[in-house]
Amino acid sequence: MALLPKYQKTGIRVRQASSMDFAAERERQRQSGVISQQLERMGKFAFERGAEMAERRGQERVREQGAVATLEQMQERGGVPFTIEQKAAYEAANRVAVVEIETAARSDMRELITQADQSNMSMAQFNEKMSDIRDGYSASLQLVDPVAAGVLSARLQEDSATFDSRYSEIVTRKAKAAWAANTEIALNEGVQTVVDTALREGVTAKEIKAAGEKLRTTALTRGVNEKKAQKLVDKAVNAALRENLIYRFNEAAGIKERQALLAELEQSDTFAGMNYEGSFNFKSKLANAIDREIENGRNSYIAEAENAQIVMSHTGQFPEGFDAASEDAEVFFEGDEETLELINRSLEYSQQDAVTYGTIATMSPEEVVNAQSAMAEDLEEAKARGESGAEIQALTKRLNDFQNVLSDRADRIDADPALYVIQTNKEAALAANKTIQALGAGDIEAVGEHLKALSIELNDAYDSIGVSPIGRKIMSKSMAASMVTAIQRINTDFEVAVIKQVQDSLGPIAPQFIHEMRSAGLQNEYYEALQLDDVATHTLLATIAPIDIATITPKTTEKTVVDDKIEELTDNYYIASVRGRGEVTVNDLDNQMEVVKKLAYYFVNEGADPVKAAESAVTKVIPQYNNVATLDGGKNGQFVVPKNLNADRMQLFAAGILKPSKLEELGVVALDVSIAGTEEDQRISYLSLAKNGVWLNNDMGDGVVLHYAIDDRTLIQATYEDGSAVDIKFKDLPTVSGPQRTTVQKIIDPVKLAIPGATTAAQIISGAVSGGTATPLGKGSAREQAEIQTSKANQISTLLEPMFKSDQGTQVQQNEYRGYLMTWMQDPSRASDDVLSYEDWLKTQE
């Protein structure tokens, strides 16, 4: 058989699986890694934050509980810290506890030193207490960890040693100081003992030296060396000897004894402990002391003698304690006996004059003139007799002293007349004292009574010494000021009532009282309230008194309306009030108008209409503002009539008096020729007065005064034969205008009052000669006229002063000069510089 072809195998085999790439597993592994990594990161973060918070809690625990307390607590719970919080607390507590314990220990140690220093503790006791402190704190070390305990223990040891050392220094220093102080005290006392020895009566130099020896013994005992002890003793003994000399000098009975001691010292060139220069200076010092003492004594004696003369002249007695026969005076005036003689004679004269002429404090003007004339005559007679120079000198001094005392009296009266009387009059002083006491006790009624009593005493004295009615006061300035202060301290609503009560109890002197109160500072509102009876207005005025007017002044338009309305309503009242009056009245009126304005402004502020406010204010403050009497258009007068009286009727009564027959019946005298400068006879004078006479308000406003109108502008008060002014009260006016004459208040003739010593002449003249105008003037002219008259009156006072002191001219000439001044004053055409001095006027009389 043929060979058959065989199938050729390809050799194919079963496919073997190729290697697989397990990428998914790999990615899962990677993912797990990433998750693990992220979780680890978050876990780490959470752990770190947690650990931090745990540490913070641990530290907070230490802060809250305190380091030692924390450690004690941890120790109680087993000691070893496990948690982070515990570890942190443990570490912080350890750190803080070490500082706390050391600080506390140091504080205790410091306190121990202070206590030990104060109580002078012994060193042994101090060490024992220091040891206690150290041991006590060491015991607390078991709480802290061993390393910190070791450090703390070492520090406590060091601190303890430092404080031991410090106290040791203190103890040593104290001991040294105590010894030094004791030594110094002992030696100082020893020196003082030596010096004190020198200041004993009758001690000798030997005794002083013996005291020095005792000092030496003390010094040596205290450890002072010999040289220093001797130096100390010498210094003390020399000082004591000097002190002894000064002691003897000062304790000498008088200047003569001192001079004797100085003479004794002059025997030695040097004194113990002093060189020649020192001794010389010492003696010079004592000699100068004697000279000074003589000079001072002399000056003092002269001053005392002059004062004694003044007191004697015023009161008739020498002041208490004054010795007119002092033996020292001889020494003071040694070598100048003439001066002493002059002083002694002056003292004798003052005593004799007090007996002969009375005391200045009570001397009337006439008595003053008589005394002065008598003294001048004594002087002239002595000159004529050819007396010695000393006698002439003494009499001249007597006259000068008298004039000086008069001048002093005039000054004091001018300054405060009531005070002068109170100071020189026992009864017045007693009444014044009682017034002040009653015021202090709040007894208002008694104040009024005592003031009345005082007023009587004062007026008696004023009458006696010749004080013009205008110059008279019923209180001293200080009394018035006290009164105002005391009353204004009272509750506002009650003030006016209190013043009113005083006023009521004063009776007729009430106006004067309230006037003086205003001068002493009583506010205008109270002053006006006291002129009124309406209680509601009192309260209103007391309410506005403390208000500043600037704070209630309304706006310009309203203010103008108010001001104009007030002026319109009060025009007649103002003119009538100011006419024939002085500057004081003008000021009073201006003050009154200010109160009216203030009250009106107050009403406007309260919402009132300006016109009604002005009307209401005027009506309340000046109820009599429209009660003005005007005679013949003002030619025969213009005056304000009190509200309760009828102005028209008063006008008729006043006009009824202006008849020649009535004037004659009343006894009105013709003008004093020497004053008026006219030569009209009585009949012509009455006719003139009946035709041109002018009625004006008197000072108190409770009546009218008749005036001559001697020319167009000058008025002179008409008088009765006794010299008193024709001053008729409103209440008397109906009667006087009838057939009966009723008089009236008198005033003293100003010319008679203008005498030596009365320096209130200006007031007397300005008050008595009521200058003014015959015809009504406007407000401006009235004010100007008042100012001119006041100025002239003041000038007259100055012109009269030299005349009082001058010995030139006779009494008649002096009176004529005063008449000359009055004529000048009343002449409106004469200027202020158109008047002669007394000396120049005398020349024109030769």
């Binding site: 199938y7 194919i12 397990f22 990615e27």
Partner: protein, 158 residues
């Protein structure tokens, strides 16, 4: 400058937050890129499997062609020489040869199937890996963002 000082902590915190967010976004994108890479690898692997299977199928065709040629030759030679070519030893011989050929053909067919299955399995692994990579990037980005928020919070004042 002093007036701006109070704002500095806020600016720093903002910068920190911004940087963290950017980093997280980058990580997320990196993860997504990785996922896309795995997707492409999976597609390529499937393609390679199909190519390999195709090669095995071609091999099977070649085997069957070889077998046909061998059987044809047997029949031809048997007819020409001795006897009946469709009976006796010739048939047996031919059957033996056909068995060998069929076996190899079957092996080639099996290999093609294996190649397709293994490629499909590998592609599936790659897709799973891609998803895991994307997930990982998301987790990592979230962690980064969280960290940035914490750090920014620590930078704020107060």
């Amino acid at each position: 400058m002093t007036a701006l000082a109070p704002a500095v902590p806020y600016v720093m915190a903002g910068a920190q937050l911004f940087a963290g967010a950017a980093q997280a976004r980058a990580e997320r994108q990196a993860g997504l890129a990785r996922q896309r890479e795995y997707e492409q690898q999976a597609a390529l692997t499937e393609l390679k499997g199909r190519q390999e299977a195709l090669a095995y199928k071609q091999k099977g065709v070649d085997i069957l062609a070889n077998l046909n040629e061998t059987l044809a030759a047997i029949i031809a030679r048997a007819s020409k020489g001795a006897g009946d070519a469709t009976s006796g030893s010739t048939v047996t011989f031919a059957q033996a040869q056909m068995a060998s050929g069929i076996t190899e053909s079957n092996t080639a067919a099996d290999n093609a199937t294996l190649a397709i299955e293994q490629a499909g399995r590998q592609a599936s692994i790659y897709r799973e890996a891609g998803r895991t990579a994307a997930e990982t990037a998301y987790i990592q980005g979230t962690g980064t963002l969280f960290n940035a928020v914490i750090k920014a919070g620590q930078l704020l004042p107060g």
